[in-house]
């Protein structure tokens, strides 16, 4: 009976495999091929494409491209700051959420709202809130006697723009993390906390010695997925800065934005190879980050 299932099973998988073959596996392999084409013209020969040979020059050129290093730097700053900050914030909020007797559902719903919004629409709202003269952020700063900051105006500094981008990124990323952590906290056996209460352990000790270790598999999962997400930052930049990708052109460019910069260059010699090479570098970075996190977790995560 089980062997007869063989061809039937493939029949059930056929729609999936055909679609994935065309739109995922083929383009994945093709990206590697395109990235080593020399003088590639993708739309030549009635769409068959033409190239003069193979070369590693595309990668060399990228590594010599100032803009690529800028994109890489911006992306790393976004990932290395926004991911830890939002994870710690989300943890604290989730623990607070768990300790209150009432209104948990209300707060949970409110905290989840940023998840169900359009990054570009809400990014535009943030952009306006960061306006130097009419924005809400500077108005709030003025309550504390602080001078207005030129967050994202034409002459704003790199750090001001990056801070605005980070605030927006953390704000949008919290929702998902809080939800996952609160449902993780519900699964922690109450007896650990009861035992801690008997030992009259402080809140900080409970947090450090019970909550964090027991949540560590989830924390690892969340840090890997958010790291991958942060390395792919793009819509947040568009929302906040528009197609210029920064207060000055390209000042907030990310790796994905760098790849997309060439999206209308299908008729220009070599550009798509260049974009493919950049996409592959992004892929490799993603894999490296995930491997590092996996390796760290083997030492720290308690399953």
């Amino acid at each position: 009976m089980e062997t007869r299932n063989n061809w039937k099973a493939w029949l059930y998988l056929a729609p999936l495999l055909i679609l994935m073959g065309i739109w995922i596996f083929y383009p994945l392999i093709n990206a590697f091929i395109i990235s080593v084409y020399e003088n590639y013209l993708p739309l030549a020969n009635n769409g068959a494409g033409q190239a003069t040979g193979y070369t590693l020059q595309n990668f060399v050129r990228i590594l010599n491209d100032q803009l690529f290093w800028k994109a890489l730097g911006n992306t790393f700053v976004i990932a290395l700051i926004s991911v830890p900050v939002s994870i710690i914030l989300a943890l604290v909020i989730s623990v607070a959420l768990k300790s209150i007797p009432k209104l948990t559902g209300f707060f949970q719903t409110v905290f989840f709202l940023p998840y169900v919004t359009n990054a570009i629409a809400i990014g535009m709202a943030f952009a306006f809130m960061f306006h130097q003269n009419y924005g809400l952020f500077n108005y709030i700063l003025s309550w504390f006697g602080l001078d207005p900051v030129n967050w994202i105006g034409g002459t704003s500094s790199w750090w001001a723009q990056m801070s605005a981008l980070l605030i927006f990124t953390v704000w949008s990323g919290l929702a998902f993390k809080i939800l996952v952590f609160t449902s993780g906290l519900q699964n922690i056996d109450k007896q650990y906390y009861d035992a801690a209460k008997i030992d009259s352990a402080s809140k900080w000790t409970v947090f450090r010695r019970i909550t964090v270790p027991l949540l560590s598999p989830l924390i690892l999962y969340i840090s890997i997925t958010s790291m991958i997400g942060a390395l792919k930052a793009y819509n947040s930049v568009i929302g906040l800065f528009g197609e210029e990708l920064g207060a000055q052109p390209y000042s907030m460019i990310t790796i994905v934005a760098f790849v997309y910069k060439f999206r209308s260059s299908y008729t220009d010699v070599g550009y798509i190879s260049y974009a493919a090479a950049a996409a592959i570098i992004l892929f490799v970075i993603t894999v490296i980050f995930s491997l590092i996190q996996g390796a760290v977790s083997r030492k720290r995560v308690h399953y």
Binding site: N5, N6, A9, L13, P15, L19, M20, I22, I24, P27, L28, A31, P42, G47, I93, A96, S99, I100, L103, Q108, L113, V116, T117, N118, I120, I122, M124, A125, F126, F128, Y134, L136, Y139, S142, W171, L174, A175, F176, V180, S183, K203, Y221, T225, S226, L231, K232, G242, E243, V259, Y260, R263, S264, Y266, A275, A279, L282, F283, T286, V287, S290
Partner: protein, 306 residues
């Protein structure tokens, strides 16, 4: 002795009350920070130019003072016969794309999750592992070639792209989701084997078993997948912009950025911009509040990253 105990009890209670107050204050502060951008977006969309440029900013407007001109401008101001922000055109396209990709995705997801969860075949675990591995690959890698494929299929042309070509280009590549397959497979696996063998003894075919037993049992998960997937079309930005030759084929996100700049003065019309942002955000919030439980449960169980 008992006095000491009562004292401790009181001290403990007082401590508890104080810590509760602090916790509520903290959570309320977070809640306000989460809500402010929404509030500010809505408030700004009802302000006039002068109110928007008021210093200090106006923090509250009574509903009777709401100015609707930003909204009416979006629809009534036209350039080249098109409204400033053709929201209903974008909305129609987005809903259509959403329906089609969701239908496609749910079909491929159910069929393959069934095969992976219920059927035994050679290479099952290998194929499943390969599928999971693809989730690591950034989508940007596929896009470059997929655009060429769309060209080869004749679905894109700068001069004579038809509406149905544009729809095909925006839907067919997005009818697969490994994440949902993984999620549904978990649910399918929880259905006891005994049911399957009993059905086999009765001579029920696999497909009938899938339709009559597995899908109804897994319905809550399937509904969650449908809602989450349908909402995904709202965020689609780069691909629709790449594969559509005309503005009128595009989706809600595409219309948002770039527009609303006064051509004569070069300044951004924030009121109109926020009105458009409100229009784009509202349908999502309506869907969210209608299916709040399914969405939150689905996201927390499957760990789907937006």
């Amino acid at each position: 002795m008992s006095d000491v105990f009562v004292l401790n009890e009181k001290a403990y209670k007082r401590k508890k009350v104080i810590s509760n107050i602090i916790t509520y204050a903290f959570l309320s502060l977070v809640a306000i920070s989460v809500l402010i951008p929404f509030y500010w977006m809505i408030l700004t969309s009802f302000k006039t130019w002068t109110q928007i440029e008021a210093i200090p900013p106006i923090l509250y407007l009574a509903p009777s003072k709401w100015n609707l001109s930003n909204y009416t401008d979006l629809f009534l101001t036209t350039s080249a016969g098109q409204p400033l922000f053709p929201f209903f055109t974008y909305l129609k396209n987005t809903v259509l794309i959403s329906l089609l990709t969701t239908t496609g995705t749910i079909i491929t997801t159910i069929l393959s999750a069934f095969a992976f969860a219920r059927l035994n075949f050679k290479g099952r675990d290998t194929v499943f592992a390969i599928l999971l591995a693809t989730m690591m690959v950034p989508g940007e890698i596929f896009i470059l070639t997929n655009f060429l494929t769309i060209n080869k299929f004749g679905w894109y042309s700068i001069y004579d792209q038809t509406y149905s070509d544009a729809i095909l280009a925006m839907t067919i590549p997005f009818m697969v989701s490994v994440f949902y397959i993984f999620y549904l497979r978990q649910t399918f696996k929880q259905i006891p084997n005994e049911l399957y063998y009993a059905a086999k003894v009765d001579g029920t075919s696999d497909f009938k078993y899938l339709l009559k037993v597995m899908i109804p049992v897994a319905m809550p998960t399937i509904v969650t997948i449908i809602i989450l997937n349908a909402m995904g079309a709202w965020s689609a930005y780069i691909w629709p912009a790449m594969v559509t030759a005309e503005d009128k084929y595009r989706l809600v996100s595409n219309g948002l950025r770039g527009a609303f700049t006064d051509t004569s003065t070069g300044r951004t019309d924030y009121g109109q911009q926020m009105a458009a942002a409100v229009l784009v955000t509202m349908p999502l919030l309506i869907v969210f509040f209608t299916f709040r439980k399914q969405i939150m449960r689905g996201v927390s169980r499957s760990g789907i990253k937006g």
